[in-house]
Structure formats: structure tokens, C-alpha cells
Amino acid sequence: MGQPLPDNAAIAASIDDPAEFAAVFHRHFDVVHGYIRKRAGVLLADDLAAQTFLVAFDRRASFDQSWASARPWLLGIATNLIHGKRRQERRQLRAYGRAGAEIGFDPLEGTEARADAERLRPQLATVLAALPKAELDPLLLYAWAELGYAEIAAALEVPVGTVKSRLSRARRRIREQLRLQGATEEQRQIATLEVDHG
């Protein structure tokens, strides 16, 4: 048995032999499904992940063959499909902030960090749900799909510089919002004293 074709070769071959496209499906379905599941919830993940590959197959002739991996391209298609379910996505993002929601702590993180994450979760979820999609998309492709700048640019079909600036804006917005909303009562009192006596 020969080496499996890389994505770009499999996609090129699938123009004449559609069955070649199945290799792309097997290689990336789980990642695409996981990304959609995080953004739009488990109820939509099955359908949108399936649709992602149908759309990709239809558009395979336009795939940029300079990319060896189809992952950014597929995640870009998935992102566009999620845009059509914006309301459900917002609901899912807000749900992460509700008490009792599962949270994916890194077990190596210290207890202080855990406490931070737990305390800031509701505000973070609220900020995320309110971010414009131009900032949310690069942010979640970076944080949840673990794409690099160039890959995000390819996925969203925008210049790398645009990705960097949008990502930077999104991160700054989160930092600002968390500082405003995330402070404990004690921190607010200290801040007030500093202003009063500063």
C-alpha cells in the first residue's frame, strides 16, 4: 500500500475521481466536528460538520493547491456555516458562563489559576458572545482550533496583517472587559480607596 496522498494531492485527484476526497474526510472530520461543537454546541455539530465536507467537495476545484493541509480551508468553511447559526452560537457561548457548566481546566494549572478561571468564566462567556464575528473568528480559530496567523488568514481569506490586528483587538477587548467586570468586591473597594486617597 502506498503512502496516503497529502490533502492537496487528494483534492486534485478528486476532481477526476471523487472517491479520493474521502481521505480528506477521514483526516479532518474529528477536528472540524470538535471546533464546531465548541462554537455552536453538540446539537449542531453533527449537521454542520457533515455540511462542511459537502461544501468543501463542491468547491474542491477552488482549493489553493499551495497548501498541503486542507485543515484551514475546512475550518474556514465551517466558520462560515456557523455564521448562519449565530443565534445558537451565542446561546452556546453564553452557556459556558452558567454556573455548573463543565470547564476544561488544565490539571497542571495551579489552584489559584483554577479559581481565576472559575471566577472569570461568566464574564468571559458574556464578552465572547458579544464580540463581532470579525474578531471572534480569528480569536476562536487561534484559541480553539489552534491555527497560526497564516492559517487563519487562509481560512478567513483575509491578509495576515488583518488577522493580527483583529486578534489583537479581540484580546484587548477581553482583557479590558474582564478587568472591569471581573474584579472582586474587595478589589473594587481598594480601587475606590486608591482613587479617593490617591
Binding site: P18, A19, F21, A22, A23, F25, H26, F29, D30, H33, G34, Y35, R37, K38, L43, A45, D46, D47, A49, A50, Q51, F53, L54, F57, D58, R91, A95, Y96, R98, G100, E102, I103, G104, F105, D106, E109, A113, D116, A117, L120, R121, L124, A125, L128, L139, L140, Y142, A143, W144, R171, I174, R175, L178
Partner: protein, 387 residues
Amino acid sequence: MDEIALLRALPPEAEEPDAAARADALRALVASFDGASPAARPFRRRRGTLAALLAGLAAVAAIGAAVLPAGSGPRTELAAAEVLKRAAVVAESSNAAPMRPPAPGQFFYLGAKVVELQGWLPDGPGTGPKGSPRYFTAHIPGEPGARPALVPTTKQFWISRNGDAHTRETLGRIGFLSNEDQELWEQAGSPPPFSFDPAEHTVEQDASGRPFKEFDSSQAAGVFLDKGVFADLSHLPTKPRALRLAVEYPEGGAPSLGSQAAPRPVSRNLDALERLTTILIAPTASPALRAAAFNALAEIPGIELEPGVPDVARRRGDAIAWEVEPGSGFRHELIFDPRTSKVLADAQVLAGAKAADEEGVPVGTVFRETAFLRSGIVDSLDETARR
């Protein structure tokens, strides 16, 4: 922790997608290779084995055949008889005692997933009993302008010894047969199905935001329970021929076993089929009685086999199927696990063009299906069965 670390900690670790979801997605993709159906549709009966679908590229060529309607005729009937006889052996070897009615203070718990084809009107058909537009109508689309939707509900019953039931129903994700239907429904404000309409029922939301309602009633209806969940079946014979006669002539008057029986009318066969499947589902049936029911079914003409059928809970089993009434286009399917003989689901499917045309849906769409999930005796309403 910086904001990216916080962000990564926000959602739970993504689980691997369900194997059935992956298989459905692959099947839809492969169908598009041939320019066939462009998208997977929910709750359509699909045939073929999961293993074949997941076998990778080698499976691709086989999938075209897997989505074709099941065959019919003597070969599939013979295959059904063989599978039913094997299921009888499995059933007889079970050491599970038939369930006894719950003791005072205990409950029989049953969890089931039910999917129904319902009709709804994008403009709303008028005014409901409390002055609200009611979008979902009766069980059947039928009405001019009505669109089909598949409404899944998880039903949980806690049934006490005297038959009183506490019921919890949770609405699942409504399935549509086309993207256009889904968009119409969303444009109408995503109206809930009639039975979950807050204007007409007391509906709450669970922790994950799903609508649910709880109520008490004097009987648990909606699944097999209306046929008597605690029925004493110990009087039924455990020899296949005798059992078949007993279910064909429940009012008595059956010909003697040794006599030359006249050809049975179709209606009597159909009645026998329904009663034998009830026995297979009933928790009070003994292993010997279930084995006799499988063997009796193996002798009834017109039953076909559909191997590797998924139920609405995404489990796969072998299905035996027959037409509900000759020429009706409605097909009754009983899906069971051949390894355990346990019935997974009981379904009616639109299998003929006539029925499908009347409902305005494609052939193969589920009309109503009940997938039996867990059942057993529990000590309180807070408890659910483990199996």
C-alpha cells in the same frame, strides 16, 4: 492565566464525534460523489452496516448499494426467518427473570426516545385555545401548506404498582427534511411543537436549556405501556405453534393444533404480528415465551429482514419489517439486537410512494418510532434504571 489560556479552559474538552454521526456524514459525502442527495437528513431509514461505512476508501464503492431501498421477496423473507430463529435461541438462553410488578413504594422506570412526524404551518393556522397562534398541528402534515417536521422527545416514566405514572418529557432537536423547511421554521420564530407550547402547557427548561414538562397521570401512554405494562403473560403457551394460535384467536375458537388449518386471512396474520411484537417488548415476558414469539414470527409470511438498521437513538440492530396494511405504504419495523434479542425500537416508516405522497415526505421517513432505552425497578422518582 492570560486571556487565551482562560479561553482554552472555557469549553469542555471536545469528545470524539459519535461514530454514527461520522458514518452519516461520510454517507452524505459519498452520495454527493454520485450527484445524489446533497445532505444528510435526520431520521431517515438508512441501510447498510456501520462497519462498511467506516472501512475507509474501500467502502466507498459499497455505499451506493447501502443506501438503496431494501429488497423484498422470498429471499429476504427466508433471511428474516433465519435471523428470527437465531434470535429465539439467544432469547431462550437468557437467564433474565420476567419482571414482576414493583412493590409498594417502588416504580417501574422506562426511558424511551420517541420521534414523530408532525405537520406545522409556517403562517400559523389561527388561534390556539389560549389565544396564541398554534403552528404545529395534528400528527399528520396533510393540511394544505403544512410542512413536515420530525419531533424527537425523550420520555421517562415512573410507574407505580397500580399503573399511576409520573412522566417527564424533554424535547429534542426538531429535524427537518430540507434546509428550506428549517429556514421557514426559524423565520417563524422557531415555534415549539404543540405539546411543548408554553401557551398551552406548563413547560420548563432543564440545565442545558432544553424544554421539558412533568406531569402525573393515571396511565402511562405513548409507548407500549397502553397495552398493559404489568400484564401477566404467564398463561400464554411457550410452544411456537400454540402461541401463534393463541395470539391469532385471543377471543378463543382456535382450530386444534392437529387439524388441517385453512389459509389464514391476512388480517389475522397482521393481528398476530402486532401481538407477538408486544410480547417481545413486554418486560413481563419470560425467556421461553420470547423465544416462542421469535419462532412464531419466523413462520409468518410477509416478514422481511433489514440488517444493520439504526434506530433513532443511533443504535444498530436487525429489523424485521412488514406492511401495516396491504397497499398502505406504511411499514412496521421492529429493530432488535441480535446479540441479546432485546428489542431496541418499534417503528412505523413511510415505505411506499402512496403514503409518502400523502404526507409530502420522501420514502423512508420515520412516521413514528419509539426507541427503548433503559428500564427496571427503582426505589424513587429521583432514580433511573441503570440498563
